[in-house]
């Protein structure tokens, strides 16, 4: 049986089209359509139920050392209440998952992808070392994301925290709409925005209070379809599409979170070796010159030869172009390079471009 989030009945009330995703019944879109929801987030503010995401708490004397062993970024750089984008790798450098690490006063929390929660939790337990306590609290937490240039104004109406001084990728433990929560300035859209974690029993009230507070900014619920487009327009990777156990962070353009000078972590040896030998393929951004949606696993061609494959693609309503991500062999990854995508047997021209596709996002 697929799970329902605490907000499920509200989605139905708003006319959501519900699909099963990662074991949850989630809204893929509401009545006005995916492009309209993308526009709402880019122009004012949208509200997302992302309660399907997983949360793993790590406590104990050796928590930092343990997290630094299983993740590729350097968690020792985190200050109290800071948030870090990171990933876990296998010994061979392939990616287990990408995630966020929250450093809170009494614990760390890892926010992982819904489709990977069980796999990640097993992986974390399997590699447990030192004095740590690990808890998968995913089923008890409702996560809402408020995203868009007006997000701060909406959330500020509901909290005493001075949001004007809260920096991107920082969090706090506070109350929003009188509900105890973790509030962070984070998101997956490129816009300014916040993510709020509350206990399930408060989820529905928080959802409705945010919608009421955001009325003057035309806030609307936004589904997973728009979320996927918003992240694609920013070239944010999606696990299962752009990154997986067969790709490494170095290939995916995530070397900025891969701290190879860190003492010891799972995957370090393989990643160092890959760097020394040279990275043979790269995740690129491309725009279609000819019409057509490049979809996952379509072939990328140069001069009649296969040079790679598409990992994500769609029509971008924000830049009004067909866009995609994919892996290509070096040196075809350089921007300006013309390539072709095999779209259902027809080679359609495209050009490699620099990320992000959408350059006017509001995030701080």
């Amino acid at each position: 049986m697929p799970k329902k989030t605490a907000i499920y009945d509200e989605h139905v009330k708003f006319g959501a089209k519900i699909v099963e995703f990662a074991g949850f019944l989630m809204p893929i879109q509401y009545k006005n359509g995916i492009f309209s929801e993308v526009k709402r987030v880019r122009e004012t503010v949208g509200l997302f139920d992302v309660s399907h995401m997983g949360e793993v708490e790590i406590r104990g004397k050796d928590a930092l050392e343990f997290i630094n062993y299983i993740t590729i970024n350097d968690a020792s750089k985190l200050e109290q209440f800071q948030v870090q984008y990171s990933a876990m790798c296998y010994e061979d450098g392939g990616i287990v998952d990408d995630l966020l690490v929250y450093k809170l006063p009494d614990k760390y929390i890892l926010i992982v992808n819904a489709s990977n929660t069980d796999k990640d939790f097993d992986w974390i337990l399997k590699n447990k070392r030192g004095e740590v306590e690990i808890n998968n609290i995913s089923d008890t937490i409702t996560q809402l994301a408020i995203q868009g240039p007006d997000a701060e104004k909406v959330v500020q109406k509901l909290t005493d925290v001075d949001l004007s001084v809260m920096e991107f990728y920082w969090a706090t433990v506070t109350k929003v709409s009188a509900i105890d929560c973790i509030l962070s300035r984070t998101g997956y859209t490129g816009e300014d925005g916040f993510e709020i974690y509350v206990k399930n029993e408060s989820g529905r009230k928080l959802w409705n209070d945010i919608l009421n507070a955001g009325g003057e900014f035309k806030i609307e619920p936004v589904g997973l379809g728009a979320r996927d487009l918003l992240r694609l327009e920013m070239k944010y990777c999606l696990y299962g599409n752009d990154i997986d156990k067969l790709t490494t962070p170095l290939e995916a353009g995530l070397s900025w979170i891969t701290k190879l000078d860190k003492e010891n972590f799972i995957g370090k040896v393989a990643l160092l070796k890959q760097k020394e030998e040279g990275i043979k393929r790269r995740l690129i951004c491309f725009e279609m010159i000819e019409k057509g949606i490049p979809r996952h696993s379509y072939e990328i061609i140069k001069d009649g030869k296969n040079i790679g494959f598409v990992t994500s693609g769609n029509f971008s309503p924000s830049v009004n172009k067909f866009i995609g991500l994919g892996y290509v062999e070096k040196p075809f990854h350089k921007s300006g390079n013309e390539i072709s995508i095999d779209i259902r047997g027809t080679q359609k021209k495209a050009v490699v471009v620099k990320p992000p596709f959408y350059k006017n996002a509001s995030h701080k």
Binding site: I28, Q29, G33, I34, L229, K291, I293, R295
Partner: protein, 128 residues
């Protein structure tokens, strides 16, 4: 799901409206909702002749790309330019402004092989 009584339907989620010797063809409400936001159509030009079930074009949408099949044999006499320029009207008005092509039928008897509104309703209930 909206399934007007005055139309005929195909297994490929297209509808047909008969006007004399001509038919108008489009995508059903169910089809547009499964495809999500429609981005572009590629259609064979006016004057193209097809047999029943031939592919006369394709539609690209956020969720999927699908081929379009002739519900009856005939010649395309008009392509809805409004749909070519603003394909999203197929999402908002699939049975009205969102018609896709107008064709001159070869054999009106082929209409008898199409699904009634009730049959089509059963089909999508089975599929969803």
């Amino acid at each position: 799901m909206n399934i007007p009584d005055n139309l005929k339907y195909t297994k490929d989620h297209e509808w047909v409206r008969v006007e004399g010797e001509f038919v108008f063809e489009g995508l059903t409400d169910y089809a547009q909702s499964q495809l999500a936001d429609i981005v572009t159509f590629e259609l064979k030009p006016v004057g193209s002749k097809f047999k029943k079930n031939d592919i006369f074009g394709s539609v690209e949408a956020v969720k999927a790309v699908v081929d379009l099949y002739m519900a009856v044999g005939g010649e395309i006499v008009e392509v809805n330019e409004k749909v070519m320029n603003t394909p999203e009207i197929v999402n908002s008005d699939p049975y009205g402004e969102g018609w896709i092509v107008k064709a001159k039928m070869d054999d009106a008897d082929e209409l008898n092989e199409l699904l009634s509104p009730d049959d089509y309703k059963k089909l999508i209930e089975e599929q969803s």
